[in-house]
């Protein structure tokens, strides 16, 4: 039952935040509800990691479309975690005075709806219903992206909606073809992920491959895979920072989860080329993002491109062979989520401190705001995979898996792109944090806000708290992965490979 409660809580919270109470009401409700969701998701993950099933009592009526296995539980837990830290971060970040209480209420209502739509993705087992909630994530987050209501934010939101929905149209076609393929295989069971895997060997290959490609391209648009990524840096840089953390940290991963769900189906079918497609699109994304990272001029866009890179890494890992690299891919999913949300929190406090997004206008940040500077350096090191942090461990194990698979070319390219991205990101961050003003960047002084003439900037308490909470897993997962989490990731990797009975 806890799964149903997880879905209901954000909806109840949406209703509650709309009530016309004082200013602190909406943030408090949101934090409480996301904490409750986090605890319940932890409970669900705990049950699943020990091999237990929590769906057996739900096999009646419409509830047969709800199922949670290792992979879903992992994604669910990550969504709940980022949802909570972003909710805490929002208190301070959105708390500035020029925002009316009504606007603040609107923000939190949208926030809770968006979290609801994401939580529903891993929980639902019926592919067309999953498609619908994927659409809902776009629609619920569109107004969050345009929240600041500037020309740029509106442009970003518009591009985001149009491109994502175009992709969704293709994906819908793909899911309908997939259903036709299942019918053609003679299967009579309900249209769910697990029945799809069972029916896969008898499906007509043409239909299955058409469906896979349509879904890969359609949903890949929303994941930000490279030829379809153009909206992503806009939307992920113009939204308010807590929303960026949700969009970049977890929404892309949640959509990628839907694509990953097709891999066991494709494996069960004879002569599918799913893994080749994944490797090609993945490497293309990593490579393009790595080279763009060298020349970005806006630090929030920089982290957005880093998301494109990491989505590419995860997809490449899956393409290298799910049986070997599946566990590493899951590790990368976890480390990307916790690290990228931290990075956007750090970028958000930098934005609060200096009020500009231009890299060239920010110099010597460590002197203006030591916390923001330190957070940015830590985030940069963490996301580029510096040891001993979480991303290092997962990227290392992906490369190792690539070598055991004897995929030397793909592994070498991946390693080179990761190194280029490291230099790109760290070069910019180094100049922002430690650079001195006036070395050829004279125009930068125009953009400086009045608050930082010699004075240090004080961050809101909740932002510091969220940064601290988000930093813990980034640091800890680098050298110690708790046993239950290891079990959960192993379960998730098993879902990717072998058909579930």
């Amino acid at each position: 039952m806890s799964v149903l409660v997880i879905l209901l809580l954000p909806l109840i919270a949406t209703g509650l935040v709309c009530l016309p109470f004082k200013r602190f009401w909406a943030p408090t409700i949101t934090v409480i509800s996301s904490l409750a969701v986090l605890i319940l998701a932890g409970h669900v993950a705990w049950l699943t990691s020990s091999g237990g099933s929590i769906t057996s009592d739900l096999k009646i009526g419409m509830l047969k479309w709800i199922a949670v296995d290792g992979l879903s539980a992992l994604i669910l837990l990550l969504i709940a975690f980022v949802g909570t830290t972003a909710a805490i971060y929002s208190i301070g970040y959105m708390g500035h005075d020029h925002l009316t209480t009504g606007k603040l209420r609107l923000y939190y209502a949208n926030y809770n709806l968006f979290v609801f739509s994401m939580l529903a993705i891993p929980v639902l087992a019926e592919p067309t219903l999953v498609w619908i909630v994927v659409e809902l994530t776009t629609l619920c987050s569109a107004l969050l992206v345009s929240f600041e209501n500037t020309r740029e934010a509106l442009e970003a939101a518009w591009k985001y909606v149009v491109l994502s929905l175009m992709g969704a149209g293709m994906a819908l076609f793909g899911f309908l073809v997939l259903f036709a393929a299942m019918q053609a295989s003679g299967s009579t069971g309900a249209y769910t992920w697990s029945n799809l895997v069972l029916a896969a060997p008898l499906m007509p290959p043409v239909l299955l491959q058409t469906a896979f490609l349509l879904i890969l391209i359609g949903l890949g648009t929303k994941v930000g895979l490279v030829p379809m990524h153009t909206w992503l840096p806009d939307a992920h840089s113009q939204a308010p920072s807590p929303v960026c953390a949700l969009l970049s940290g977890i929404e892309t991963t949640a959509i990628l989860y839907v694509i990953l769900r097709l891999f066991p189906v494709m494996q069960a079918a004879p002569a599918s080329h799913a893994e080749t497609w994944a490797t090609v699109l993945g490497l293309l994304s990593v490579g393009t993002a790595a080279f763009i990272l060298l020349q970005v001029r806006d630090y929030k866009r920089m982290f957005a491109f880093s998301t494109v890179e990491h989505m590419g890494i995860i997809l490449t890992a899956v393409g290298l062979g799910v049986s070997v690299a599946g566990y590493s891919a899951m590790q990368q999913v976890v480390s990307h989520c916790v690290t990228k949300s931290f990075c956007f929190f750090a970028a958000g406090v930098v934005l609060l401190a200096v009020e500009t997004r231009q890299i060239a206008s920010v110099r010597g940040l460590i002197r203006k705001s030591p916390v923001a500077g330190a957070a940015l350096v830590f985030g940069g090191l963490a996301i580029t995979g510096a040891p001993p942090l979480a991303v290092f461990l997962s990227e290392f194990s992906i490369l190792k898996a690539g070598l055991t698979q004897r995929e030397y070319l793909a592994t070498a390219l991946l390693a080179i792109f990761i190194v280029i991205a490291f230099f790109g990101i760290m070069f910019h961050i180094n100049r922002m944090v430690f650079g001195t003003e006036g070395n050829g960047e004279t125009e930068s002084s125009n953009h400086l806000s009045p608050s930082e003439n010699g004075k240090t900037f004080h961050l809101p308490f909740s932002c510091r708290l969220a940064l601290l909470i988000a930093a813990i897993p980034v640091l800890v997962l680098g050298f110690y992965i708790p046993q239950p989490l290891q079990d959960l990731m192993a379960q998730a990797a098993a879902v990717l490979t072998k058909p579930t009975p």
């Binding site: 419409m62 067309t128 569109a142 909606v161 175009m166 149209g169 073809v177 249209y191 001029r297």
Partner: protein, 236 residues
């Protein structure tokens, strides 16, 4: 049901989906936002008619449900939502600066329709004989023409209608090849279209308030190179 009736129903369905394709062409060529909306309403009614005919032909009751939902949601609720959410003057707008002129756009649309016929063939061979019909290639054509409409349009309402045409196209194929989908799912997909209209309507209103135009295609300041950004700011 006997063979003659079945034959008649098949022919009627072929006529209906043929008209569906024509409306998709019309939406590519139509310059006036109001005209686009009207064509879209006709198209949705044709989709509903096709669902009803297929339901009658194959005795699949819940296709009637799909038809009913389409009749209610798209011709009635979509225009109402648009009127509620976005400024009314967008209906009367004529688009003069399309990316392509109309004859070229129609020629490309024709090429896309022919392409979708060939794309549909392997799919048709793979599904059971019961599921074959003109719905598959024309659905693909709807999908492609919708996407094409989005790429050549700059006004908010025609863009939105392009998105809905894509969804209609996917649906037209869906009612033929995957008609046993649970009704709840189909209802949810139809509701989803309404949410799209609502959100895009709200966005359009915000864009118009902020920028003073609904030509969203002219929004192009976010790029990698900031120099051009500043230039275009100056140009405005």
């Amino acid at each position: 049901m006997n063979d003659t009736t079945n034959q008649l129903l098949d022919n009627l369905n072929a006529l209906v989906v043929g008209l569906f394709l024509l409306t998709a062409f019309g939406i590519v060529a139509m310059r006036q936002a109001r005209g686009c909306l009207n064509l879209f309403i006709i198209q949705s009614l044709l989709l509903a008619a096709s669902a009803a005919l297929l339901g009658l032909r194959h005795q699949t009751e819940h296709l009637y449900g799909v038809a009913l939902v389409n009749v209610i949601s798209k011709p009635i609720i979509v225009p109402w939502l648009l009127r509620k959410t976005s400024p009314s003057e967008i209906y009367t707008r004529r688009e003069v600066d399309q990316v392509l002129n109309i004859p070229t756009a129609l020629l490309i649309a024709l090429a896309l329709a022919i392409l979708s016929y060939f794309l549909g063939q392997p799919l048709l061979k793979a599904v059971g004989p019961d599921f074959r019909g003109p719905n598959v290639p024309i659905g693909i054509a709807g999908l492609l023409l919708g996407a094409f409409t989005i790429t050549v349009r700059r006004e908010a309402v025609p863009l939105l209608i392009g998105l809905l045409v894509m969804e209609n196209g996917a649906f037209l194929t869906g009612i033929a090849i995957s008609r046993n989908l649970p009704l709840l799912v189909e209802l949810a997909i139809a509701t989803d279209g309404l949410v799209i209209v609502f959100i895009m309507g709200v966005l359009t209103r915000a864009v118009q308030k902020q920028i003073g135009t609904t030509a969203v295609g002219s929004l192009a300041t976010l790029k990698e190179a900031p120099d051009t950004t500043e230039e275009s700011e100056v140009a405005k």
